[in-house]
């Protein structure tokens, strides 16, 4: 700081030195009495140093003030009083930019909120026709109705995904941990997909024992439904097995499996892998959301698979690093 200050005053110091040299030289070459210079040199030197010290302290005070307000969101109005034309100009400029910036931020926030509100409303809106169709299809007993019902369930899931996706970014306040029965949560999800199990003639080996866990039911349900939906999508014969092993919920299927090189990236956003590329609808969002939600819930999720033999997804439901409230 001091060095920088002195540097900025180099011109003044230089000028002072030049005057001293010039006057001294003039006296010397004209054989005048050099002693006569001692007093004025001392005096102007002292005044000059005092001047520099005072200037330094002023600059330092300003510097500290600016440093302090740099953490503020609202900088304008807290700037130090400008002491010359340049500073005045800069202050004006900062205040103008600050105004523009806060305007943009608030318009961005408004737009985000608008979009959020719209998504929320849209989800509610579309659920009405979905409900109407579901009720009609429920009262029909044909193969076509069964197929339409499972397709409708997929639509319902995609709709749910929109809300989940928007909410994912919002803070942890959306998570409410309560004691819940894992068996009930899983059963509910399985019931939801029963039409598809039956349509595809898949056997369900349901081996979930009663287990009390601390969780947010809504988010966990989304994850389980997503995983079940994946298993159903990629399993055309055989079984899906759901069981609890060592505090982990495991969903295992005898489906087409996942290529080994796809597994490490399977939870990446937008990554669809080989299976996803075969299925044109795959967005690479589903598992990404599952991973994010598990992270937020404090669960570990992992996948193991063999092409042609099946896939097994494991969620560890213990949260060792957190205390329950």
């Amino acid at each position: 700081m001091l060095k920088e200050y002195l540097k900025s005053k180099a011109a003044v110091i230089g000028l002072f030195a030049f005057w001293a040299l010039f006057i001294g030289g003039w006296f010397f070459f004209n054989s005048l009495d050099m002693n006569a210079l001692t007093y004025p040199f001392c005096m102007t030197g002292i005044v000059g140093v005092i001047f520099l010290i005072v200037g330094y302290r002023k600059t330092k005070a300003k510097h500290d003030q600016i440093r302090m307000i740099s953490d503020f969101v609202d900088v304008a109005g807290h700037l130090p009083e400008p002491s010359d034309v340049t500073e005045r100009d800069l202050t004006d400029l900062i205040e103008r930019l600050d105004g523009v910036f806060s305007e943009r931020v608030s318009s961005f926030n408004n737009r985000t909120k608008d979009t959020d509100d719209y998504y929320t409303m849209w989800v509610h809106q579309i659920k009405t026709p979905i409900s109407a169709m579901k009720l009609k299809l429920d009262s029909m007993d044909t193969d076509e109705a069964a197929v339409m019902k499972s397709q409708l369930l997929r639509i319902e899931q995609y709709v749910e995904m929109v809300l989940i996706y928007r909410r994912l970014e919002s803070s942890e306040s959306d998570y409410r941990f309560k004691e819940a029965e894992l068996d009930e949560i899983v059963r509910e999800a399985v019931r939801k997909f029963r039409t598809e199990f039956i349509n595809k003639h898949l056997t369900l080996r349901y081996e979930v024992e009663p287990l009390k866990i601390m969780t947010d039911e809504k988010w966990l349900t989304f994850v389980i439904e997503q995983l079940l939906s994946n298993s159903l999508k990629y399993t055309n014969k055989g079984y899906i097995r759901i069981f609890v092993d060592d505090g982990c919920l495991v969903i295992e299927d005898s489906g087409i499996g996942i290529l080994e090189e796809d597994i490490p990236r399977i939870f990446d956003k937008g990554y669809t892998g080989y299976n996803g590329r075969l299925d044109k609808c795959a967005s690479g969002i589903g598992l990404y959301l599952c991973k994010r939600i598990c992270d937020n819930l404090g669960y570990k999720i992992s996948v193991s698979s063999k092409v042609g033999e099946g896939t097994s997804v494991r969620i560890s439901l213990t949260r060792p690093d957190r205390t329950f409230e």
């Binding site: 579901k134 007993d141 199990f197 369900l204």
Partner: protein, 227 residues
Amino acid sequence: MYRIFLVEDDSDIAGSIAEAVKAWDYSVHIVSDFHNVMKEFSIVDPHLVLMDISLPFFNGYHWCTKIREISKIPILFLSSASDNMNQVMAINLGADDFIAKPFDINVLTAKIQAALRRAYDFGNEVKIISCRGAVLNVGSNTLEYNGERIEMSKNEYRILYELMSNKGKLVSRSKLMESLWATDDFVDENTLSVNVNRLRKKLENAGLKDLITTKVGRGYIVEDTDA
């Protein structure tokens, strides 16, 4: 007969609910004037209310509050706005339950029954379905024929219930499986066949041979001989 007051502005949904609920011998009134729901309410004087949240003119919360000013009957909310806020709000305003759309019609009827049972002690009113002199008692899950009681497992009862309540209509195997899955029995096709055969044998022993007819490759039917 219980009267149900249905406040739902989507006519397709309202129609489907009314149809499903009528099968349980409830009479349903679908609100037509959403300006003045209370007028219809006092005319119908229902036992239970099914209430949507987003309605024309006033929302469901408004009408819930209005109803609570004059009545304590069960109110069940039906809504697509299923986030915690809305549920909490509905319950705070005096709703008895909250059912998220899209819902399963079986879940809805089960919740209606539960609410009615809590409010009116509906043990003394039992629903029965009969066919060829065989009487299926829906409350107690039993079948009686010639004054004799035929013991059935949960699955067998469920299958017979599904067939008898659709008597005269073909019920596909998938439909039967769905109905078993809905009550948490995740059976496969073999198990269904085993269950149906066992049920048949029991019926045959009780003198109800061929109550259930197989339509190969399509499903089963209980003929409506009473009609």
